[in-house]
Amino acid sequence: MKKFLASTVAASALALMLGMTSVRAEDAIDPNAKQGGAITITYKDDVATLDPAIGYDWQNWSMIKSLFDGLMDYEPGTTNLKPDLAESYEISPDGKTFTFKLRHGVKFHNGREMTADDVKYSLDRVTNPKTQSPGAGFFGSIKGYDDVAAGKAESLSGVTVVDPYTVKFELTRPDATFLHVMAINFAHVVPKEEVEKYGADFGKHPVGTGAFKLAEWTLGQRIVFERNADYWHKGLPHLDKITFEIGQEPIVALLRLQKGEIDVPGDGIPPAKFQEVMADPEQKARVVEGGQLHTGYVTMNTTMAPFDNVKVRQAVNMAINKARVIQIINGRAVPANQPLPPSMPGYDKEYKGYPYDVAKAKALLAEAGHPDGFDTQLFAMNTDPNPRIAQAIQQDLAAIGIKASIQSLAQANVIAAGGDKAGAPMIWSGGMAWIADFPDPSNFYGPILGCAGAVPGGWNWSWYCNKDLDAKAAEADSVVDPAKAGERDKMWSAIYDKVMEDAPWAPVFNEQRFTMKSARMGGADNLYVDPVHIPINYDNVYVKDVQ
């Protein structure tokens, strides 16, 4: 965390000297990395699509990052932004115009050079309602977005091709998160001719500018990536081939890893086997642990009695024994006291949160007029370990007199209940919890704590809407100057501290990530718990057993 802040400040200082222009420095390539070799990765669920405008799940997120590129990316294994397909960028003093200079000679897998027209086309496509992109909303600050989203225009008026290597974005408001938005998968650049050729099946025939290209896709069985020899980033990727085997239960994947048949079980170590793996020094040595931009929380519907009383919500915050909940998941998390996870900029290290204090919680309930507690419902997703976590929370609540019956349902049903104003008094977020789309504090606010998310079908399951905080959030996001990033983070800390005062959530824990790999895999540990390339950074890892 400290390291991250320091580097941000340094980068910001540099940006300031250049008059808010940032020029990319070439990434250092790991000098120990070996070229060549093939690895095998398993996943349980099908890969739905490899279309960057549509893919939004655990398996395909990082695959898409290896097939496509965006204007921006992050330094491998970190949350530090860097230009990618862009060579440099310039932000206007009012923070509403972003101009990107593209690097020359970048080629799509079909051999054609990528230009500014492709950037514009890709953004027009992702925001077009016909594309049905789950990420369209990220581009809401671009001028002309509303017309495209409403189907009134085919093209974003705020995106201009200045020349083949320059593209200009005009925004309706200063947006400090815009560089992050240009780094998410939905903003990746696609070639028009290939999209038109394959139509709705482009996701099965992806063509990008990325480090790997698709070599084979046998539906439901196997996806094979092979090295893009023309990749613009010289020296990458290290691997010649990656085979993704689909449909493998995590427990079977672990057995195969132990026998040396695979290199990374993409779904991680199955909970039931976690202690066994960690107790074996030989296996434990191949486990990499890292933080992730995730918070697990209990939402309380602030529009439903008795949770419309802040004292009741605070009482719940004090009643939950977080340490015990973490035991249930074999200690694979750290206790949370605020919405932001510790590795996110803007996390308030000074903030202590609500203590675990049953007596105080009871007193608060009494003050709220419920000395004997009340009956309510706690919704949770029905896959392990969530029902067990819900039970632990249920017991903790019972200790202060709140009798919560557990509604254990399929994910989609819990999401539906949360998006219905009268649907769910309390929800344990496990299995559906917020994992940040990009490493910026604003990403934990808008859809899940802001007024915009407190609508039918929204993700603000607390239905918490504080207009004052919304205004503060908008103010923080208008601080575009990278030199003031520290100031902006402080503004966000203050917003989340206020949220905690109103206590629409009881934050419970921040999950840690544990990736296991075969002994032959090489590369820095942080590539295996990359905060952005989830679960691992395919472009930068290598194998040690090639010549």
Partner: protein, 306 residues
């Protein structure tokens, strides 16, 4: 015969229509909103409504069902909400794997079940008979998930005789087939045993014995063909049981069939796939039953078509 077939075909179509209506209605009533799943967490309410309109999910139930039916008649099962591919393509690409597994399972259950039943019938009342019948009972009652993991652990992890899950060679096929087959083998062992005991009591068997024929000849040439026929006729009905089993077994072994597809689709409320797999399964079951009924009289002349 023709009239019978015609009647049965119409019945079968009505059943399929009923299945499609009930499944469609159940999925329609599901509190989960597929549009929200497609639209994702960052979508504005406007985006959600746009997508709903494009998919026609803003229409009343009867309109949606009618549209589905008219497309279905031309063989179009729609596009998956999550995978965005043609459902037909997804099912067709996975069907061979499921059929292969089914063939393997039928072989396993016949081989295991018939031989167990035969031995039990011949050794009726002995300890062997009792052991086999207890074993068949265990086979019928053991959850397939447990059987699958147990077989995987013993034969793949410990003994390394077979690969740990996956698809491709005959060695990949053995354990999942066995897992599926053990359930059926239990039933077949019991049916085979009673059928065989029944046949062994028949006059012609007594006559053969009186003629002084060898025990082996009586069993295999005279008794077995007659005892086995009614049992074989059950295979068609098995398809229904298999359709349920493949969801579990394919998931355990990472077998890329339609069971795995269905399981994933259910978890993600991918309605077009759930509908598609349900209809294909219902079709297979109806077809299996129809075949079993039509073939039965040829195998066993005591049965007549009416």
């Amino acid at each position: 015969m023709i009239a019978y077939l015609g009647r049965r075909l119409i019945q079968s179509l009505l059943i399929l229509l009923g299945v499609s209506l009930i499944t469609f209605a159940l999925l329609y009533l599901l509190p989960a909103d597929p549009v929200r799943q497609i639209a994702g967490r960052s979508a504005t309410p406007q985006t959600v409504e746009n997508i709903r309109q494009q998919l026609g999910l803003d229409q009343p139930f009867i309109v949606q069902y009618w549209r589905y039916l008219t497309k279905l008649i031309s063989g179009d099962l729609g596009r998956s909400y999550i995978q965005r591919s043609e459902v037909t393509e997804l099912i067709v690409s996975r069907l061979p794997a499921s059929l292969l597994l089914m063939v393997g399972a039928i072989l396993c259950e016949l081989l295991l079940g018939l031989s167990m039943g035969l031995i039990a019938a011949v050794r009726r009342g002995t300890a062997t008979d009792q052991t086999l019948m207890v074993a068949s009972f265990v086979g019928v009652s053991a959850p397939q998930f447990v059987v699958g993991l147990l077989l995987l652990y013993v034969f793949a992890v410990r003994l390394s005789w077979f690969p740990i899950g996956g698809y491709g060679t005959w060695r990949h096929l053995v354990l999942p087939s066995l897992t599926m087959g053990i359930l059926g083998a239990g039933w077949y062992a019991r049916m085979m045993r009673s059928s065989m005991i029944d046949v062994l009591r028949q006059d012609y068997v007594r006559t053969a014995r009186a003629k002084g024929l060898a025990r082996r000849a009586i069993l295999f040439r005279h008794a077995l063909p007659n005892a086995i026929l009614p049992v074989i006729a059950m295979i068609g009905i098995d398809i229904g049981i298999f359709m349920g089993g493949i969801v579990v077994v394919e998931s355990v072994f990472g077998w890329p069939g339609i069971g795995q597809l269905a399981w994933q689709a259910i978890q993600r409320v991918d309605i077009p796939i759930i509908m598609g797999v349900t209809l294909v399964s219902a079709f297979a079951i109806v077809l299996g039953n129809l075949l079993a009924d039509v073939i039965a009289p040829f195998i066993d002349p005591r049965i007549k078509l009416r």
